[in-house]
């Protein structure tokens, strides 16, 4: 500020010199020049691309989205037939990517937290097992792990006729895990309402117990009552309303199982590969987060009479979370992006369906690759935004 005042304080130097030496003006000029150069660069690339495509007689534009797709996809969360459009096929691929990414994030977080805490365990066996797990799987490329799960584990399973029979009429074969499909009959809606009511009641109970403890110091075993409500209320409703739920059991007909839900080996391999790989990184992040809290915190908590469980929950984890969450976000993004390796093992994700089959049938590489990149960017930015919001929520307010 002193320099700035000094310059403006000498009007005798003339306005030209003062403008050049004004860091604010200079900053704006540089920013403007950079912006113009960047916009010009991208505009040049865009016009050049369009011109080159036109000259090479390569079809361009986004009209193909509404054309008939004409190919089938093995796994779809939404109804899809070959009569539908490329746009619909794009959605199918996108949802398959999101499905495996979301499940992968949840599972790898659970495994990662358990292993991370396990590695700090004083129990020799648990500690060593966690270490071996982390050091092995972290150091093998994820593509190899996917191929391992697909080729070495799932593909060597016996055929559908000789598959392993599991409880509840399920079976495991090289066609995947086949489980019965629940069929919801009329009247099941009452049970759904009961579940919602139970959840709301448990949340209310927990808040009431907390307020009571703050006010009176008396603790209530909210977990015990909560579980009772959560299981009891829906179960009673379900029985009273006449058990309106049946199962469609898979049956071996012709080549494959008919009926039931088939969880494809490609999906299982991808999910297992991504989960176990990413969990190693999450475990290390969790371990680092916990180790970052000095032991003095634990000792201080013990000194004021907190029990080990409460210490972990109220003292260690809240402080560790602010160390854990930013790198955890990166791992979630990595998992989502790594799911594009699905193409190697035949899982119909976005890359396989859209920038694989659709790209080939339409031949419009520029548009398809551009959209694919845009989609991954959007997914990543959305994940990132959510994690930043979560981070701000759990971050300690320092004074």
């Amino acid at each position: 500020m002193a320099v700035h005042e000094g310059v403006t304080g000498h009007p005798a130097r003339g306005s030209r010199a003062s403008l050049i030496y004004d860091p604010k003006v200079r900053g704006i000029v540089f920013q403007a020049v950079l912006a113009v150069v960047l916009i010009g660069f991208f505009a040049w690339i865009a016009t050049n691309t369009i011109e080159n495509l036109r000259r090479a007689n390569i079809a361009s534009g986004f009209g193909f989205f509404s054309e008939r797709a004409g190919f089938d996809v093995s796994q779809s969360l939404i109804p899809y037939t070959l009569e539908m459009s490329y746009g619909r096929a794009f959605l199918v691929g996108l949802l398959n990517t999101l499905l495996v990414a979301a499940l992968g994030i949840v599972l790898s977080s659970i495994i990662g937290f358990l292993v991370g805490i396990g590695r700090l365990s004083k129990n020799w066996l648990i500690g060593r097992m966690a270490t071996v797990y982390v050091e092995t799987l972290r150091n093998i490329p994820v593509l190899l792990q996917l191929l391992f799960w697909y080729k070495a584990v799932l593909s060597v399973l016996p055929g559908p006729r000789q598959g392993y029979t599991l409880p509840f009429a399920s079976s495991l074969s090289n066609r995947g895990l086949i489980v019965p499909r629940p069929v919801f009959e009329t009247g099941f809606g009452v049970t759904v309402i009961a579940v919602v009511v139970a959840v709301v009641a448990v949340i209310g109970l927990a808040q009431w117990a907390r307020r009571r403890q703050m006010a009176t110091g008396q603790r209530l075993h909210a977990l015990r009552y909560g579980l009772a409500i959560l299981i009891g209320v829906p179960l009673l409703t379900f029985l009273i309303s006449g058990s309106p739920l049946s199962f469609e059991y898979p049956e071996l007909k012709g080549f494959n199982f008919v009926g039931g839900i088939a969880i494809k080996p490609e999906f299982l391999a991808l999910l297992a590969g991504l989960t176990f790989y990413t969990a190693t990184y999450i475990a290390e992040i969790v371990r680092a987060g916990i180790l970052a809290i000095s032991h003095g915190q634990t000792e201080a908590a013990y000194a004021v009479g907190l029990r080990p469980g409460t210490t972990l929950r109220l003292i260690i984890i809240p402080q560790a979370m602010r160390v854990i969450i930013p790198p955890l976000t990166s791992q979630y993004l990595n998992l989502t992006k790594n799911s594009s390796l699905a193409v190697a093992i035949g899982y119909p994700d976005l890359v396989s369906v859209f920038s694989g089959t659709v790209l080939n049938q339409t031949g419009q590489a520029v548009e398809v690759i551009f959209i694919t990149m845009l989609v991954y960017l959007s997914i990543s930015l959305a994940t990132s935004a959510f994690m930043n919001w979560f981070n701000r929520r759990v971050a300690l307010v320092e004074r």
């Binding site: 690339i45 050049n48 691309t49 011109e51 080159n52 495509l53 000259r55 090479a56 007689n57 390569i58 079809a59 004409g70 190919f71 089938d72 996809v73 093995s74 070959l82 593509l143 080729k151 593909s155 060597v156 016996p158 055929g159 090289n174 066609r175 007909k253 012709g254 080549f255 494959n256 008919v258 080996p265 490609e266 193409v343 190697a344 093992i345 035949g346 119909p348 396989s352 920038s355 694989g356 089959t357 790209l359 080939n360 049938q361 339409t362 031949g363 590489a365 520029v366 690759i369 551009f370």
Partner: protein, 339 residues
């Protein structure tokens, strides 16, 4: 993994480089001293490396034939192995000079990709490969089957159409590389494997136990396979097209690798024009007049190329069938005359 980046690289190339499409491919090829040819990543009989690492196959010989026509050197060619998904992008971006990779000629590929099909070097059709112990005698009994297929092929679309037309259900398991699809079929992941019939014969030989598998009799589509070049370069298009016709004409006229030297002095005017003894047909397409002589001397005529790679002299034992000459063998291969 580098090949995975190819579409992105190509997109970047199309965006950044100006005017690659209009350049004369023949001049570029002559300047660098070799033909860059896109081939299959490993389809026995059509495009695959042998034990010594040398590329061999029917499609590979078409690359070599063009190299011989231009340079009179069968080694003046470099091969780029491409998956079905990568092949057109590689040609569009100028990474390869020609594509000879059992590629089906369809209208959309010919008109909207900026590419041109040169001709049909092999008339094929799509079929199914199944295990013998399934007891299936016809493709119409495949309802409910899991079918392994490679992405980015006409096969994927024909498969969908065929099952829909016959009111059958199926479960596609789609792979990017045909090696992956083959491995999945071999391990029992799929009940059936589908691709062009020629490919099925080739793939069957690479399975753990070829005798356990059988190709079903149904051919469900037309698959005319042939070399592809970029659109807008008529000279290069003519060279590749006439190399193909020269091979066919040589067979029709009885010119073989063994007798080609004697045939140069033949009394037959057609043979003399083909081999460059008379006329200046080579110069007209920017080559030397003995271009066809060189090709036949180095690789033989169409029949020799066929039998050596996929016919009776190969493990595939594919019969000429549709690919016989129209003039003598009851097939539909037919070349315009050189005159």
């Amino acid at each position: 993994m580098i090949t995975k980046l190819l579409p992105i690289a190509a997109v970047a190339a199309i965006g950044l480089l100006a005017g690659t499409a209009s350049a004369a491919t023949l001049d570029d090829v002559k300047a660098k001293g070799f033909v860059q040819c896109g081939v299959n990543t490993g389809l026995l009989g059509f495009g695959a490396t042998d034990d010594a690492g040398e590329w061999r196959g029917f499609d590979v010989d078409y690359c070599r034939a063009v190299a011989v026509a231009v340079f009179n050197d069968r080694r003046a060619v470099k091969f780029t192995p491409l998956t079905a998904k990568e092949r057109f992008t590689a040609l569009q971006s100028g990474e390869i000079d020609m594509l000879s990779r059992n590629t089906t000629w369809t209208m959309s590929r010919d008109t909207s990709l900026g590419l041109t099909f040169v001709g049909t070097s092999y008339y094929d059709g799509q079929g199914f490969l199944v295990r013998k112990d399934l007891g299936v005698a016809s493709a119409l009994e495949l309802s409910g089957a899991s079918v392994c297929v490679q992405t980015g092929t006409t096969t994927e679309l024909n498969l969908a159409d065929y099952f829909k037309r016959n009111n059958m259900t199926y479960n596609p398991v789609v792979f990017e590389k045909f090696e992956e699809a083959t491995a999945a079929y071999d391990s029992g992941r799929c009940d059936a494997y589908t691709t062009d019939a020629s490919g099925l014969y080739s793939i069957r030989l690479t399975l753990t136990n070829p005798a356990d598998h059988v190709v079903l009799p149904e051919i469900i589509s037309k698959e005319p396979l042939g070399p592809v070049v970029r659109q807008g370069d008529d000279q290069w298009f003519n060279i590749v097209k006439w190399v193909h016709f020269a091979l066919l004409n040589a067979e029709e006229l009885g010119v073989t690798q063994r007798n080609v030297d004697d045939m140069r002095n033949s009394d037959n005017q057609e043979i003399r024009r083909l081999l460059g003894t008379d006329g200046t047909f080579g110069e007209a397409i920017g080559l030397s007049n003995d271009w066809a002589y060189n090709v036949i001397k180095a690789l033989g005529n169409y029949s020799e190329v066929f039998e050596r790679n996929i016919g009776i002299d190969s493990p595939l034992h594919i019969s000429r069938g549709l690919n016989g000459l129209w003039t003598s063998k009851g097939g539909i291969q037919y070349a315009p005359p050189i005159r």
